[in-house]
Amino acid sequence: MDVPQIKKAAKVYDVVIVGSGAGGGMAAYQLSKAGATVCLLEAGGYFDPADPKYINQLKWAYESPRRGAGTTRAFGDFDAAWGGWEIEGEPYSAVKGTEFHWFRSRMLGGRTNHWGRISLRMGPDDFKRKSLTGIGEDWPLSYEDYAPYYDKVDDLIGVFGSKEGLRDAPDGRFLPPPKPRLHELMIKKAGKSIGVPVIPSRLSILTKPIHDRGGCFYCAQCGRACQAYADFSSSSVLCIPAVKTGRVTLINGAMAREVITDPKTGLATGVSYVDVPTMTEQSVMGKVVVLAASTCETARLLLNSKSARFQNGLANSSGVVGKYLNDSTGASRGAFIPALMDRKRYNEDGVGGAHVYSPWWLDNKKLDFPRGYHIEYGGGMGMPMYGFGFGMEGRNSIVPGRDGKPKAAGGYGADLKDDFRRFYGANIGMAGRGEPVPLESNYCEIDPNTVDKYGIPTLRFNYKWGEAEIKQAKHMQDTFEEIIHAMGGIALGKKPGPETNYGLEAPGKIIHEIGTARMGNDPKTSVLNKYSQAHDVKNLFVVDAAAFPSQGDKNVTWTILANSWRTSDYIIDQVKQKNI
């Protein structure tokens, strides 16, 4: 594009990176450490978890007028993510009869500021789904290609876990895991009795301090961002150290509009963006452009980067950009554990998230759905927040009162007040997170009719779950009840059935979306090669999860970090060889 009012900055950076989440942060860190000058564009504001201006950690429920309710932040008033599924002035749409919920976090570090810190490696078979099952797609790479990078990510960022020797859940270079909480020991015992493995979680939280970061002080509030830098956020662990090299120019409030290309060479020359504070059009120039704006935002940027030479959008000669969008499946269930009533009080906050989880343990060849899932657990005597106490009328008649006599559900007064004390910490929750089958028919595209407040054309989604995912959710629900019953618990609410797809969450709700610019060996069916380099534009790279052909049931952040590091090494190598 060539619009006259765009003021072209004189400086040409070695690399321009769009997005400061896990992928962009890692690329900025590696490339700047290697000596490159980097311009890092972030659509949202500056954020440092250690700056009191931004700290919500260790606040009490009553320090929020809404007691932590999620009115302006989907995961609660103290959650670190700015943004959410809906952002004023930044709409998106879905084709009738389909849906996708798009969570965006506009801030330095993006969605890594509030994420669950679940840091799983993909297993060897996760890279070879098509060869092994006949459906889905293989990666052009194998576990062996990623293993050394997973190791390096473990060492640089830190992750706790335990050596288990499981093929599908490869071990890493782990820090010691925290001991299970009481309800987690009960889950483990129940799991053992019915053949569901329950092992220590693998979370990027520092149970021992490494590098210059603090150790975990067990407040369970990683989702609020950690002022000790004791967990992984791209802001604290990658972007801020990268800026300290002196070679990174961070521009906040830079909402990317298009990747600019040279009409003659077809190479990327920079990125145009809207400077949000002044609402002006700007651009930066770079010898290499790296996209890490998040799966859907990266696809949007490519599709919006149209020119005479790239009429389908940039790097899209295959027509694959935007397609194969896939999010993890998710379904959940809660339970009441009578044995946990009238508990002794002690501090069991622990780390942010469960201390145990269940990796996938079955063989899909013997099941009626092709992909696996893992189970995450919740529970314990956490800080009471908004929502505490709602629904007691569904619970307090399940067991007799202190006097041993049956009770009527609901009630009021001193007796009810006592029930809240008795039931505190006696609930558990479990959530399955499963691998979906990526489909060409699930995609995002540019909405022909709509622009956002910056005048940038918006996304329109087309996404439906298939039978594979619905059957998987059904299996999750059956497993949840089995575990609950093995614990002597009582499942809460009605068991989700076919009328709700067995409680299968709507696409986008798990916020694990990937696949819109997938890598592959064939330029006709993929956007990127195995170095996450665009087949069509050799100085254009994608280092977020858009590049991934599939995601296993392994929350993809750790693979984003490993892949971004690997891609950064390749960029450095190619620059040295003068290939780009």
Partner: protein, 208 residues
């Protein structure tokens, strides 16, 4: 010069100065001239601080409604040997805030309070808050137990379930309620595992 005019003048002069870049001057000209700056507390975004300030300045409950919420709240969570009542923990003000923060509650809340007053007026000739304690309890007994309530009281049951939830959340997320419940976290510590006596009580151990 009035404050508003002086602000306008500042805007005009800065507009002239920024005229070097026509984009920036165009952007500035759409900025509202008299926005009062709101103090942004730590951990808040600007739009959240502004929104909270506006909500706090607004009023939802009428004095009569607030009185009813207070009376009902203290019936649901009264003072006992361990702690104070819902109103002593500031619960009515919390409920007032939530009505403005999440307006979808306004109709069920306002309507529910009117339903309650209407039932009391028919039976006792007085609104709920003005009834005798025994009369208030008589009505509450008919809507507080979903499994036992008569079908004609179903709307009252739904209202009371909502109210029970709000009062419980308001009380147990207050300083008083958290202390009552015995939550002892939210403080830096070392997690060493479940205390030995608790492990013993549940017949569990860390060595498999």
């Amino acid at each position: 010069m009035k404050r508003r005019d002086s602000l306008k003048a500042i805007t005009l002069s800065s507009l002239g100065f920024a005229g070097l870049n026509p984009q920036i001057s165009a952007a500035e000209s759409i900025m509202p001239p008299d926005v009062k700056p709101v103090k942004i507390p730590g951990g808040r975004q600007k739009f959240e601080a502004e929104r909270d300030a506006k909500l706090n300045a607004d009023k939802f409950f009428t004095p009569h409604e607030l009185k009813t919420v207070t009376v009902l709240g203290d019936i649901i969570i009264p003072a006992d040997a361990k702690s104070g009542s819902a109103s002593q923990a500031g619960t009515p003000a919390f409920i007032e805030f939530m009505m403005k923060d999440q307006p979808q509650w306004q109709t069920p809340m306002r309507g529910g309070l009117r339903w309650l007053d209407n039932v009391c007026t028919k039976r006792f000739g007085k609104k709920f808050a003005d009834c005798l304690k025994a009369q208030q309890i008589e009505i509450v007994d008919e809507i507080a137990y979903p499994g036992k309530a008569k079908p004609e009281m179903s709307q009252g049951v739904a209202f009371f379930n909502m109210m029970r939830g709000f009062v419980a959340t308001g009380f147990f997320t207050s300083q008083m309620g958290i202390k009552d419940l015995g939550y002892v976290g939210n403080t830096p510590n070392q997690w060493e595992g479940v205390p030995a006596d608790v492990l013993k009580q549940y017949n569990l151990s860390y060595d498999e």
